[in-house]
Symmetry: C3
Subunit: 100 residues, 3 copies
């Protein structure tokens, strides 16, 4: 059985960023995403806009490396200053690369 390398991008952000994040995913050509509410606490030191205790979501996107890169670049450029948010990327394997 063949496996194909993909990237998993995980975004934890305040809920009010949701529509903006989903629009970004559409713009860069991501084929889908998973989203669920989470609690949490963000970076210590309490900068305004740091992640609050409630009202956060976690968004997960499986995408080819080039699309994942584009998501990360645009998060950095357009989102990190505006929204309480963290994002990270990891390596995964899938069986049907055409789905992503």
């Amino acid at each position: 059985m063949n496996r194909y390398p993909m990237k998993l991008v995980t975004i934890v952000c305040e809920s009010l960023a949701r529509t903006h994040v989903v629009r970004l995913l559409t713009e860069v050509g991501a084929h889908g995403y998973t989203l669920f509410p989470v609690e949490g606490e963000g970076a210590q030191g309490g900068r305004p806009g740091d992640i609050q205790e409630f009202g956060n979501i976690q968004v997960q996107i499986v995408a080819p490396p080039v699309v994942a890169d584009e998501i990360m670049v645009r998060l950095q450029r357009d989102f990190f200053k505006r929204f309480a948010m963290i994002a990270y990327e990891s390596n995964i394997q899938v069986m049907r690369p055409e789905k992503f």
Copy 2:
């Protein structure tokens, strides 16, 4: 402290696949799973059976590579045509390999 390599299998599927997925996990000898509801959107293009906006779950299984392989093979063989579903695999490390 020793670490042992395991696989994390993640399945995102429509809720109605739940009992079938759990039965598969039992059959292949997985020792546990984690499950939670998610929202999301699936592959663009709207094939019938693609992941809908509501009523999805995410299932996570930590398993030895051979068990993870078996899960992936059987998802491909028996589930992908029947259920709206994506699945992926990643490398993790654990401390108590006998638990999985």
Copy 3:
């Protein structure tokens, strides 16, 4: 765009371990965490304290390798005997290492 290697520590445990886990994260200097309720089933064989079907949470921590190590060591030393719990570690990449 630079990426920096971090660790993602994932803990699945009974809810009653929550305050203890959060205190541990503070003590080792983790800068944040994400938490959400999950269902699931634990190791077969039914030892008392194994993960029950309801009332579990999943906690995720992004941290530098040395902090992740400390979390894993202390979970092993102080938590595994007291609480129904699994924990695992994986490699991720971030863009703003100073956040974690």
